[in-house]
């Protein structure tokens, strides 16, 4: 008795240890194994925010931000983004998603995106399982796969009570989505398993294989199936049909109003673009391998009413800030931001109506740690990114930039 309870205690301890090991750090996902040209030239996330990075079970986290669908979307590889789903990158249902909106439209189903469009997303999550997780916005694109946004570590602490997921049906019935309907499922399964066992045990209890085989080969197979066997079969046949009929009657009575699975597509328009922004043409792009720097020569035309300066380059979720113009954001994942990684020459602002050639360098080991330098080994060595220009009042103008990029392997070659 004592040894049994000790064993039980050890088993419980093992389960607790196991679960707490699960409820610990969960590393980033497989985003870095996606080809760089896909990450840079598909969905460009920006303004991403996580309302908190530490919460308890049952607390809420809001993930919000925007993304631009890259103008030069690689149609030949990814098709068009005509079927997409606004998803969330987490390691399983450690959060439950309570809301998902795109430009204010409920994203319960899938939608389509306009190439070149801007969209604002807002996802509300509720903490379910303790642990530390990498939480990303994510968009599944049919035929192309998942395009992940930037990820931030979020810790769900134990406490906050056991997780519950209350919801209400249209008729006002309150249900807990975690467990509703399970007892009915298990109950009916047990009923059918009992019927099956009756049938199986009836036959298995007798000599089974070789004795029967001998009689069959002798031509005496009729001895193997008795009148009782056939009566049982007939009875089970009728009973099965009866149980199905009764079961359906019970279900229809208990749940008179049901709806089929909802599979419609939702249409959402992109955000309006300012009538006059900043136009950018790429003149030349190089990636200097040893120095981990991307050099861009850009022809910039300022069509706005005020002078603007380049404040940021963002691509594949990494951000290079021009420290002279943009402030660092401490809340943004530190492994994805180079607060002073962007240098612009000449530094002076571009006046309204002016066209200027600027030389931009984006320097940081991020190019390698995020495996974007592997662009050189892609079958498509074209990069893409989002440039942000800012005027003195903080108004922002977004322009995409992209095109061929050449590697250089020594500084003197520039």
């Amino acid at each position: 008795m004592a040894s049994r309870s000790r064993l039980r205690g050890r088993l419980v301890a093992l389960i607790v240890i196991g679960w707490s090991a699960v409820a610990s750090l969960a590393w980033a996902h497989g985003e870095r194994t996606q080809e760089p040209f896909l990450r840079m030239r598909s969905i460009l996330f920006y303004d991403c925010q996580w309302s908190t990075d530490r919460l308890k079970v049952n607390d809420e986290l809001v993930l919000s931000g925007r993304f631009r669908v890259f103008d030069d979307w690689p149609i030949e590889v990814m098709g068009r983004p005509e079927t997409v789903y606004i998803n969330t990158g987490v390691p399983g249902p450690v959060f439950v998603r309570k809301e998902s909106f795109l430009n204010g439209v409920n994203m319960a189903n899938s939608t389509s995106l306009t190439i070149g469009g801007d969209y604002e997303f807002r996802v509300k999550l509720r903490a379910r399982a303790p642990g530390t997780y990498h939480v990303h916005p994510l968009i599944n694109v049919y035929y192309a796969g998942p395009i992940q946004g930037p990820g931030k570590w979020v810790t769900i602490e134990p406490g906050g009570g056991p997780f519950t997921n209350p919801e209400k049906t249209l008729m006002g019935q309150e249900v807990d989505l975690e467990r509703f309907g399970l007892s009915t499922v298990v109950g009916w399964h047990l009923v059918w398993v009992a019927v099956a066992l009756v049938w199986l045990v009836w036959w298995v209890r007798r000599p089974l294989f070789i004795p029967r085989y001998i009689l069959v080969t002798r031509g005496a197979e009729d001895e193997l199936v008795s009148a009782t066997d056939r009566k049982l079969a007939a009875g089970l046949f009728v009973a099965t049909l009866a149980i199905v009929v009764i079961g359906n009657y019970w279900a229809i009575t208990k749940y008179p109003i049901t709806v089929p699975l909802q599979s419609s597509r939702i249409r959402v328009k992109p955000l309006p673009r300012p009538a006059q922004g900043v136009e950018v043409d790429l003149v030349k792009a190089t990636y200097e391998v040893p120095g981990r720097t991307v050099y861009l020569d850009l022809k910039v035309t300022n069509q706005s009413a005020k002078p603007v300066r380049l404040s940021e380059l963002t691509t594949a979720n990494v951000r290079f800030l021009n420290a002279a113009v943009a402030k660092d954001e401490p809340g943004y994942p530190r492994d994805l931001i180079a607060p002073s990684g962007l240098v612009v020459e000449p530094e002076a602002a571009i006046g309204p109506g002016e066209t200027k050639l600027i030389h931009v360098s984006a320097t940081d080991p991020i190019w390698e740690t995020e495996r974007l330098a592997l662009l050189l080994y892609d079958p498509d060595s074209r990069f893409g990114g989002l440039l942000m220009f800012q005027d003195s009042e903080g108004t922002r103008y977004l322009s995409t930039v992209g095109g061929p990029i050449l590697p250089t392997f020594n500084l003197k070659a520039l």
């Binding site: 079927t83 997409v84 789903y85 998803n87 969330t88 987490v90 399983g92 249902p93 439950v96 809301e99 998902s100 409920n106 319960a108 189903n109 899938s110 994510l138 599944n140 049919y142 997921n165 209400k168 049906t169 008729m171 989505l177 467990r179 509703f180 309907g181 399970l182 009915t184 009916w188 399964h189 059918w192 398993v193 099956a196 066992l197 049938w199 199986l200 000599p207 089974l208 294989f209 070789i210 029967r212 085989y213 193997l224 056939r230 079969a233 046949f237 099965t240 049909l241 079961g247 359906n248 279900a251 208990k254 749940y255 109003i257 089929p260 699975l261 909802q262 599979s263 419609s264 597509r265």
Partner: protein, 256 residues
């Protein structure tokens, strides 16, 4: 003296089955070895077949629709029952082929959903429960023993197998089709489960489900799909009856 110890210079059957000259003991031993052997091989092979042909519909409640699930599941899963029915009935007059298959399958599915889907990935069990095929299997086996005819089993049993599937599972599924108001959008409870319990690798659009009802029949989609399912099951039964004959070949060859 009533008995004397038999003298024998030959190696006795007793070497195999010490103390018994009755082959029935050997046969019963073989029974007890073959029962787990056949149960496990049917479970493993049938489960692999099932998970890779109809798995997605069976894994998630928000795939269990009225157009695809109730057609593909019976059609794909009448395969092994038809083949095993042939082997067990033809060689042993055992009318349990279909029931063995689906019971073995169900055991594998519940173990997986509990230990993996719930125990590992932490999806609630009410989201990932498997469907039951036992009613159709009982009917298929009973038709075989009552008619003693593969032709009649294929036609009537196969039809019943296909038709009854949705209705046998509806008592379990009905609760998951309660209507919900999700921020102004109508969803079924199953849809809401799919929305809330995040699956990064399974976007909503990837569901192969009804996306617009059958034109002629208004809301009476289910009986139409069920009878279509039954029809295809009849054909599938005969194809896999032949597979059963083929795969239980007893040929030997000299060179490979």
């Amino acid at each position: 003296m009533m008995q004397r110890k038999a003298a024998s210079a030959e190696p006795a059957y007793g070497d195999v089955n010490p103390g018994s000259s009755d082959p029935q003991q050997l046969y019963r031993t073989i029974d007890w070895l073959l029962i787990p052997l056949l149960f496990m091989v049917v479970q493993a092979a049938f489960h692999i077949h099932a998970m890779l042909t109809v798995g997605d519909w069976d894994f998630w409640t928000d795939w269990k629709d009225r157009r695809w699930w109730l057609v593909v599941t019976p059609v794909s899963l009448i395969t092994f029952p038809a083949a095993i029915q042939y082997v067990l009935w033809e060689k042993f007059r055992l009318p349990i082929g279909a029931t063995v298959c689906v019971t073995a399958l169900l055991l594998g599915q519940w173990v997986s959903r509990t230990l993996n889907f719930y125990g590992w990935a932490y999806f609630p069990l009410n989201f990932v429960w498997p469907a039951t095929l036992i009613p159709g299997a009982i009917l298929l086996d009973c038709v075989l023993i009552l008619t003693r005819s593969y032709l009649l089993t294929g036609i009537f049993g196969g039809m019943l197998w296909g038709v009854i599937f949705y209705f046998a599972n509806w008592p379990m599924l009905a609760a998951f089709h309660l209507p919900m108001n999700h921020n102004g959008v109508l969803l079924s409870l199953a849809d809401l489960q799919g929305f809330e319990y995040i699956r990064t690798g399974t976007p909503e659009y990837i569901r192969i489900i009804e996306r617009g009802t059958l034109r002629t029949f208004g809301k009476d989609v289910t009986p139409v799909s069920a009878f279509f399912s039954g029809f295809v099951c009849v054909l599938m039964y005969f194809v896999w009856h032949l597979m059963g004959r083929l795969l239980s070949t007893v040929r030997f060859i000299q060179k490979i």
